[in-house]
Amino acid sequence: MTAAAAKAQPALTQQEAFVQFLLRMGDNTLILGHRVSEWCGHAPVLEEDIALANIALDLIGQTQIWLGLAADVQGEGKSADDLAFLRDAWDFRNLLLVEMPNGDFGQTLMRQFLFDAWHGLMLEQLKSSSDERVAAIAEKASKEVAYHFERSAETVISLGDGTEESHNRMQAALDYLWPYVGEMFLSDEIDAAMEQAGIAPDPTTLRDAYDTRVSDVLAEATLTIPESRFAQKGGRTGQMHTEHLGHLLTQMQWLQRAYPGAKW
């Protein structure tokens, strides 16, 4: 960090950094779970409706635990629901990838695959976190995510290597979403603090394993990874989300905002 930047941003306490890390985990699952749930009743085939609902359900379940822990560590008397429903876009810490719109089924599954591949690796590392609560969440979530990855990889393979149309759509989805992959491997002072405390790995260390994982599947899917490694960023820091997030929150938070204090 440059001296000027250090002056502009007072260093985070360990507790603040931990909360930010937990929000990153919980906001990813919240926003992606929400996106996937938008499919309900509209999937291409009944089995996919069931599978998508199941994935959304797992992700919302994980959100309850991550954001619950974030609220506890924060110690301001908030609940997971307060964090989910009463923060504005700039306080969200999810990756841009997960807030991208569903598009067609191919885009939804490609987004899922690109995220699952990272999510699985991350959780695997978190199983040995120095924080027992984090390790316990990772233990439970990694079982669910192993299934998500298996399923999304399988679907990417069959649609990539299906008909000409399905191949073209999957390639278009990959080209569209690839610029959002790099953000998963960026590292900042929060990650450094987590790494130092043994709570979480430095995200940059996951990139090689990710590339291997993803390129194996995409090769089988006969899809071509774009050459550019340019990364759109701003989600996990909250500095600049996409325009899409605000609309998602408008819908998700409406009841809580319109009827403050009501119990549901």
């Binding site: 938008e38 409706d49 919302i60 409406w254």
Partner: protein, 325 residues
């Protein structure tokens, strides 16, 4: 109840075979897919199970309408799980219907072009969050009334599907009641939402049992075959008797000024739904018919490339495996 106005088919089969078949049913035996069965029995069952399956599928739409606006993480998770269950019910039921010699794709095409129906209830909108409670409480409640006896239906695969479905439906009903109870006990606005939901969904729920017995022309044969276990009016009465005390407990008013306990009959007297409205909805003129069918058609059409792609890949894989052997 998701099967309404199922027309039973006339049967022209060998009288001896028919008598033997009826004797099996009367003796409480289950009919299995490989057994001989009258053509009318088979066709009526396809229509009934198919309509039930379609109802589970279309029924995802009014509830899915609120998944993205569920007010808490827990409510969102419960609703997602419920809608997932409903899709699962659709799957078991399509499988049961397939044992009668029709494919899921054929039934889907018939739903999409209007040759097959789904329950009239899903042509009503879900307009506020309390509707999600009311759907679980009233709609799943009415479905259970019909499906519990169908666990004893004569057709084996249908009976087994009903046994699996019923366990989950009673869960849904309790969860729905919990949503609406929370709102009935909540702020004045929440209470208003709960009452509004009950006002709109009460009569459509009564319609779920189908027309009055005096207008229900197809019941006798189906009851003889044990694919219908009770008359429409019996089930409707049972539903009203069960639901009125629940509404009272919630402090909500059932929108029927003539509703009252009849000591002599040991049942509630109540106002019938507007049957003209019911027949309008069945004909396609309900508030959501066009939107529901358009949503299902769009999902099917947009999904064509996905289904084609998956099939093409499965074939390539099989061919590669074959070539390697």
């Amino acid at each position: 109840m998701y099967a309404q106005m199922i027309k039973s088919e006339a049967t022209q089969d060998d009288p001896e075979k028919l008598a033997a078949f009826q004797a099996r049913i009367d003796a409480g035996e289950k009919i299995e897919p490989k057994d001989w069965m009258p053509e009318g029995y088979r066709k009526t069952l396809i229509r009934q199970i198919g309509q039930h399956a379609h109802s589970e599928i279309v029924g995802q739409l009014p509830e899915g309408n609120w998944i993205t606006r569920a007010p808490t993480l827990e409510r969102k998770a419960i609703l997602l799980a419920k809608v997932q269950d409903e899709a699962g019910h659709g799957l078991y039921l399509y499988c049961a219907a397939e044992t009668l010699g029709i494919s899921r794709d054929e039934m889907t095409e018939m739903l999409l072009d209007g040759r097959m129906k789904y329950s009239s209830i899903f042509n009503y909108p879900t307009l506020n969050w309390a509707d999600i409670g009311a759907v679980g409480w009233l709609v799943d409640g009415a479905a259970i009334m019909n499906q519990v006896p169908l666990q004893r239906t004569s057709y084996g695969p249908y009976s087994r599907a009903m046994i699996r479905v019923c366990k989950e439906e009673s869960f849904h009903q309790r969860q729905g009641y919990d949503v609406i109870r929370r709102m009935a006990e909540g702020t004045p606005e929440q209470k208003k939402m709960a009452q509004d939901a009950l006002n709109r969904l009460w009569y459509p729920s009564l319609m779920m049992f189908g027309p009055s017995d005096k207008d229900s022309v197809h019941s006798a044969q189906s009851m003889k075959w044990k694919i219908k276990m009770n008359t429409n009016d019996e089930l409707r009465q049972k539903f009203v008797d069960q639901t009125v005390p629940q509404a009272e407990y919630l402090g909500l008013t059932i929108p029927d000024p003539d509703l009252k306990w009849n000591e002599e009959r040991g049942h509630y007297d109540f106002t019938d739904p507007d049957w003209n409205e019911f027949f309008d909805v069945i004909k396609g003129n309900g508030p959501c018919n066009a939107d529901r069918l358009a949503a299902r058609n769009k999902a099917w059409k947009d999904g064509q490339w996905v289904r084609d792609g998956m099939l093409a890949h499965a074939r390539k894989k099989a061919a590669r495996k074959h070539a390697a052997e």
